[in-house]
Symmetry: C2
Amino acid sequence: MMEAIAPSTETTIDPVRVFRLLGDETRLRAAVLMHRHGELCVCELTDAIGVSQPKMSRHLGHLRDVGLVATRRSGQWVHYALRPDLPAWLGDALAALTGEPPFADDSTRLRSAMARHRDQCEQ
Amino acid sequence: MMEAIAPSTETTIDPVRVFRLLGDETRLRAAVLMHRHGELCVCELTDAIGVSQPKMSRHLGHLRDVGLVATRRSGQWVHYALRPDLPAWLGDALAALTGEPPFADDSTRLRSAMARHRDQCEQ
DNA sequence: TCAGTATATATGGATATACGCATACATGCC
DNA sequence: GGCATGTATGCGTATATCCATATATACTGA
């Protein structure tokens, strides 16, 4: 299947690739959190989802490699956000999952994490 | 993650499972064809997508095992269709992919396959 | 019953994927 | 520069996933 990164309204990523990427629990949960809350720091995602740091970093790396997320370093902290030009169907799907388990709980835990990290990984 | 089959408006299938399932090219292409054309016979899917019969059967089996499709045997022929009570976001995603490659080509080839199979695997 | 056809499943093998743990790399402060 | 902290990556291992090929199973008609 053809795969091209086109600088247009929507990023063209192989849909099979997208489905496969999000077919992992950690990655799907991270994607839903980013969709709902916007740009997030690795440490916040790690805490909210409750996985080890290397595991989260590795998974975020996968999302980055495929072009699903954009990153920004701020001192020691790296922030990840879904690219705004992703296909609409993907955004809609992530939005639809927001209120379901375990994504809703992740969101709650994220708010705690954000409060704890407030003065450290500033937004 | 909790997985339950609830006889309600929408089937509750673990979204991670869904994404993972559709993260395979053959299965995603089959799902899009079924979404667009409705109930299809294994032979039609096999021809349209251009894979071997055992391969198609295996993949359809995966979809069946998870509860994404319903099957109906008609003599020698087995028809598969997406369950109507799938989550809306999934239907929307499949619909959005319909006009893209390679799904559009699959659809064209399916029409030929349906014409060829008309008198055999009757609908 | 037997032969033909459609479909599902078994088998062995190759490849992909995920993980924990360790560590390399990046940044900031004293 | 040394130390602390956040993040990314290496490494070995276990498991999952996919495939081609062969064959079992199901159905039909003569």
